[in-house]
């Protein structure tokens, strides 16, 4: 067991749990809810896009799935205490994971770039279904959720804790998979899939498992979002920009790292929402956003965490050459080459 890592996780958990108790204002909590949502989703995306190296552009399909599931469930069930939608969240996650498994199985027969395209196609298929199955989904009229009956002073709390729970779950799963055979298998798949197959890794199984878990987590975030927004609409729930957000945050923070996606979300979500609020009127907003995006890609193609960690390690290596141990989470390039996993049939 890696005690410092667990300790860090514990400190973060306690800090985040205690945050609402500090009497933060509503607008701060609102911002934190969206930040936690994207942190959770980026962390989940990282399982497929970062660790397995399959850049899914279709995760928003499952975000919408979760949003619509919660929306539809409460067309037929009443919200009394206000907590019912949170109670059925695990069900949402499980269902999405089940639906995701065959989809992942089909989509992951293709290699990385075709996979990206197949998944974005999936997103548009899902959006079309939400529009066209209007007897079920309300179609282009949208779907209204019951108003959450929470008292004003603590209105945001349940949403905050629900998003936090999903984030912690996602990080715990990431941590566990990094520590287990699954993580090693994923590393190998990312580095060289043919070789991974050659040394007996159950490639398809590992990939589908990570896809399934990942989309289940995203669907839960979608469910909470729908309840917070109180309104679900196909174009908003199945929005390519939601996926793009996850991808960006993972790339910014650092792929295939535990903390990278969270760092990405903490920088981008408040930054973006605050900028749109403060300077949104300026037409240059989109250009500035794209420019920042491009700069990051060109200057730090591996993301902030791996780049900074590398630079620091190199500096240290010059000083004390013996003290250069590998970082806890290997950056993508360094991953598989050094640590060839023990061949095993199962996916643990």
């Amino acid at each position: 067991m890696n005690v410092p890592a667990l300790a860090r996780g514990g400190v973060l958990t306690v800090a985040l749990l205690a945050l609402p108790l500090l009497g933060l204002e509503h607008w701060v909590l609102n911002l934190l809810i969206f930040t936690l949502m994207y942190a959770a989703m980026s962390s989940a995306w990282n399982l497929v896009g970062g660790f397995a190296g399959y850049p899914s552009l279709g995760h928003a399909a499952f975000f919408g799935f979760g949003a619509y599931f919660i929306g539809l469930w409460f067309q037929h069930h009443d919200v009394v205490s206000g907590y019912e939608p949170f109670v059925i969240l695990p069900l949402v996650g499980l269902l999405a994971a089940l639906v995701g498994a065959p989809i992942g199985w089909i989509a992951m027969r293709t290699r990385a770039d075709v996979f990206a395209i197949v998944t974005i196609t999936l997103l548009f298929v899902a959006q079309t279904l939400a529009f066209n199955l209007d007897d079920l989904t309300g179609g282009a009229q949208g779907l209204a959720m019951p108003t959450p009956p929470f008292e004003l002073a603590r209105f945001e709390w349940p949403f905050y804790y629900a998003m936090l729970w999903i984030l912690l779950l996602s990080m715990a799963l990431t941590y566990l998979s990094m520590r287990s055979k699954v993580g090693l298998s994923l590393d190998t798949v990312r580095a060289d899939e043919d070789k991974a197959l050659g040394i007996g890794i159950h490639v398809q199984g590992v990939k589908v498992l990570s896809f399934s878990v990942s989309v289940g987590l995203v669907a839960m975030a979608g469910g909470v979002w729908a309840y917070y927004e109180t309104f679900v609409y196909p174009q908003f729930a199945f929005d390519p920009l939601i996926t793009i957000g996850m991808v960006l945050m993972v790339f910014l923070g650092g792929r295939a790292t535990l903390w990278g996606p969270i760092l990405g979300a903490v920088i981008l979500v408040p930054g973006q929402q605050y900028l749109a609020y403060k300077l949104g009127g300026s037409q240059l907003y989109l250009i500035a956003y794209a420019a920042v995006f491009l700069l990051i890609m060109l200057l730090m193609p591996r993301g902030i965490l791996p780049t900074v960690a590398d630079r620091l390690r190199r500096r240290r290596a010059v000083g004390t050459s013996s003290d250069a141990g590998p970082p806890t989470a290997a950056p993508p390039s360094a991953g598989a080459g050094s640590s060839v996993p023990v061949p095993s049939g199962g996916t643990a």
Partner: protein, 292 residues
Amino acid sequence: MHALIQGLILGILTGGVYALMASGQTLIFGIMKVVNLAQGAMVILAAYFSYTLFADFGVDPLLAIPLTTAVMFGLGVVIQLVFLRPLKREDSAQLSLLVTFAVALLLEGFMSVTWRTTYRSINTDYANASWTLFGYQFTVVRMIAFVLSLVSLGLLFLLLNRTRFGRAVRATVQNPMSAELLGVESKRVAALGFGLGAATAAAAGSVYGLLYPFNSGSHYDLISELLSIVVLGGMGSVGGAVIAALIVSTSSAVVATMFNPTWSSFTFFVILILVLLIRPQGLFGTVERGAL
């Protein structure tokens, strides 16, 4: 029966335009292994150029094509040199996906500042004209668009098959390593190839502007459609893209006329998924071994 044939006519005529747009996309992939998410934005940008030339200077969109093609070729080369060449790492396939998306956003931002977000359309005096043959409608712009697309595709074909540059491009598509060994300067080919892809977007953009109203956000719709066509045809195969474009647009048009337009885009996504189930490499793609 009448509706079916009308649908087929519509689909084939529209398919030409899509074939032109997708050929640039698939060419760029073939040469550089880059999925260019900015192809749609480049088409729309070219449509705006041709709109401005028409609205402010009275230049007919058809005559504007040589000019916009030259400009877009230059822009394509610049984009490749500035944004894509620096990506050298082994996962550049993934990174280029993001970089080209960022380029698309950049172009979108530029377009919404320059032309605002109002829908524009190029209203030539022949915009509403149509011919009736055997009881079927042929609109003039659609015929022009189709012929133009065929001419552009023909030129592209000649370029690829009859010139030194074309041979170098095809060699790179088939096997970059041995092409390099045979003395092909892959960097130059990549830059010029991206320029060529952008140039086809220019021709396609003028045609697109004739057919449809557009604004800076229109490229989002194009991205998914073009990618589906390219994947269906087999990534990197220009011939495959042309055939896939025809399949996609005729099936959508037939579904729209025979059944229901709300399901027409759905149809080709379903075709795509079915094809990928049977042939993950697409209709005319080759199986790629090893990491891209």
